[in-house]
């Protein structure tokens, strides 16, 4: 039954293959286009007689050289990294104890608060950015990356609490009770037993936080204007366009460089991220 028609082309098999092929091309082509653009010589790029899908001339590293040495790209990368590290630190500090409290210590209330936390990640930046721009100015953080370090945990903390709650609930209660009988305090159980046992959950939070920091656009655009203090997501589309001139080769190189590492990390942790979004509709 199971192997019937496995090596025979069937209409359904063809349909299946066609759907996969069409979607892979639709979703993946822009990245092929970025790749080939970033290595094309400028003459090749703007010659309408050339077949645009292939390299007609020798590949060039000129666009990448320009990107790394004549723009602030490296600075934007570093800014993004620094903000990422700080936001990860703040997120873990706030979310780990909060998630444990909701999972174990607050009973019926914990579940209600958990749902409340879940609902806060439905409140979008585009609703908060106007008042927050005032708050950031009052704190004297305008035009610095510290504005983002303060604000970004607002979307990473709720999601991380929700994710970690799931991890903590999966730890057998008996294990924690036994550790308490052996003399650990409740907080000791959390710090010495639960946290080390949840390393994969913590790693998921770290990766997810980094991804969100790299992807964020609205807050960085609103709070920061100087070129050298910018983040990757705003710096690249804003400052690699000078007047009417788009540095397409360098722009596409920058897009790829920012995307590929995140893509690998995201793929490794995909199933865990998804569990944070399914609202219990999948068990």
């Amino acid at each position: 039954m199971a192997t019937r028609g496995r090596f025979r082309p069937t209409w359904r098999g063809l349909g299946h293959g066609a759907i996969i092929a069409v979607f892979t091309i639709l979703l993946g082509f822009p990245f092929y286009w970025m790749l080939i653009t970033s290595f094309k010589q400028t003459g090749d790029l703007y010659d309408l007689e050339h077949n645009p899908f292939i390299l007609n001339d020798k590949p060039t590293l000129e666009h990448l050289r320009f990107l790394f040495f004549e723009t602030r790209f490296v600075r934007w990368l570093l800014n993004t990294l620094v903000v990422g590290v700080f936001v990860v630190g703040i997120t873990l500090t706030l979310a780990l104890p909060a998630a444990y409290a909701l999972a174990r210590l607050t009973g019926r209330w914990g579940q209600r608060l958990g749902i409340g936390i879940f609902l806060t990640y439905l409140i979008p930046p585009t609703l908060l950015f106007i008042p927050l721009s005032r708050v950031v100015a009052l704190l004297g953080l305008q035009d610095t990356i510290w504005a983002l370090v303060v604000v970004y945990p607002s979307f990473t903390v709720p999601f991380s609490i929700w994710l970690l709650m799931g991890f903590f609930k999966a730890i057998p209660k008996e294990l924690e009770d036994a550790a308490m009988v052996d003399g650990l305090t409740r907080f000791g159980v959390f710090a010495k037993l639960v946290v080390p046992m949840s390393l994969s959950g913590i790693l998921t939070v770290v990766i997810f936080t980094f991804t969100l920091v790299t992807q964020e656009f609205v807050y960085a655009l609103t709070f920061i204007s100087p070129e050298s203090n910018q983040m990757l997501g705003v710096g690249v589309p804003t400052f690699l366009v000078r007047g009417d001139v788009y540095y397409w080769g360098s722009l596409m190189g920058a897009c790829l460089i920012a995307t590929i590492p995140i893509a690998f990390l995201y793929n490794m942790f995909l199933d865990r991220f998804i569990s944070g979004f399914t609202v219990g509709a999948v068990k």
């Binding site: 996969i20 993946g28 607050t106 409140i123 609703l127 106007i130 690249v236 596409m252 998804i274």
Partner: protein, 304 residues
């Protein structure tokens, strides 16, 4: 021994609440300060005359709402936001259901395909959008190159994807759907693995046929997860301004302006915080509806 465990557990319960509150408080305080307070401020601003430069502010009642409701740009933005959300959600829901059903069967190279399919979602939104801006370029668009070589459009009059109002709106919708499709697909895929495979199979063996099984058995069983994908999709679409901002900046002639991008233009670029806040408040009714929907889903799956 057992009594010891029980006693420890009971003692833990008593002190648990206090410790729980202490452990939850820092996160709660932060969320209150950075989400709760600005959320309240957004309402306050919308009824005031605050601007970027102003020191204090006075309350002006519904003046801001009265003036934005009269603005043609606002009405266009509201209309565009609704079209943008409906059209891209329809595309994404149909596309991701098809794709998830196809991916649910094992085949060779599935891991690689999954990697490629996820790229639009993991790429920073603004950078994915700038990639499309290059593909939709007025002179060097690769899409136009193909269309010209297939003789579908005239060489000297190719479509200006981002330069003509209707085409620009279409482009914005397509690019946003492109980005959201992978997210929706993986959510639906996660839901599919929870559906017992033998029910649709049994239906087909009983002669229900492929399409009837799909529409009368498989899709109804997918309902809860489709709801989740749709609710998140609505939030990510209705409140997003990145794709619009990068591709068209709301133009040409405000033809692709949506509520969030209009709020940004008014509130931040022109510095009229009060009007900008008033515009962004029009996001709230839909957000409330989505929150209600999420609670229903959560209640039905007994999370609450």
């Amino acid at each position: 021994m057992t009594t010891g465990v029980e006693r420890a557990a009971v003692k833990g319960q008593d002190r648990g609440y206090l410790l729980g509150a202490a452990m939850f408080a820092p996160a709660a305080l932060y969320i209150l300060l950075i989400i709760g307070v600005p959320f309240a401020m957004a309402f306050m601003y919308a009824f005031s005359d605050v601007t970027v430069g102003s020191e204090g502010m006075s309350f002006v009642g519904f003046d801001n709402f009265a003036s934005i409701l009269e603005s043609p740009t606002f009405r266009k933005s509201l209309e565009n936001s609704i079209i943008f959300t409906l059209a891209s959600q329809a595309l994404v829901l149909v596309g991701s259901t098809m794709l998830a059903l196809a991916l649910n069967k094992p085949f060779r190279g599935r891991k690689l395909v999954r990697f490629v399919l996820l790229l639009p979602w993991v790429a920073p939104i603004s950078l994915g959008a700038i990639g499309w801006k290059w593909m939709l370029d007025s002179l060097y668009s690769v899409i136009n190159w193909v269309l010209i070589h297939l003789h579908l459009v005239k060489e000297f009059d190719p479509p200006m994807w981002l330069g003509e109002p209707k085409l620009a709106m279409l482009s914005v919708i397509l690019v946003h759907s492109w980005r959201l499709l992978p997210f929706s697909t993986v959510i639906i895929l996660a839901g599919l693995t929870a559906i017992p495979k033998d029910i649709p199979e049994a239906a087909e063996v009983d002669g229900a046929g492929f399409w009837r099984t799909l529409f009368e058995i498989t899709i109804p069983m997918m309902r809860p997860i489709l709801n989740v994908a749709l609710l998140f999709g609505i939030i990510f679409t209705f409140t997003d301004m990145t794709v619009v901002y990068v591709l068209t900046a709301g133009g040409p002639f405000d033809s692709t302006q949506v509520l969030p991008s209009y709020a940004f233009t008014t509130g931040i670029l022109s510095g009229d915080l009060a009007q900008g806040a008033a515009v962004s408040l029009f996001l709230v009714p839909l957000l409330a509806a989505v929150a209600y929907g999420m609670l229903r889903v959560a209640a039905r799956s007994e999370v609450v």
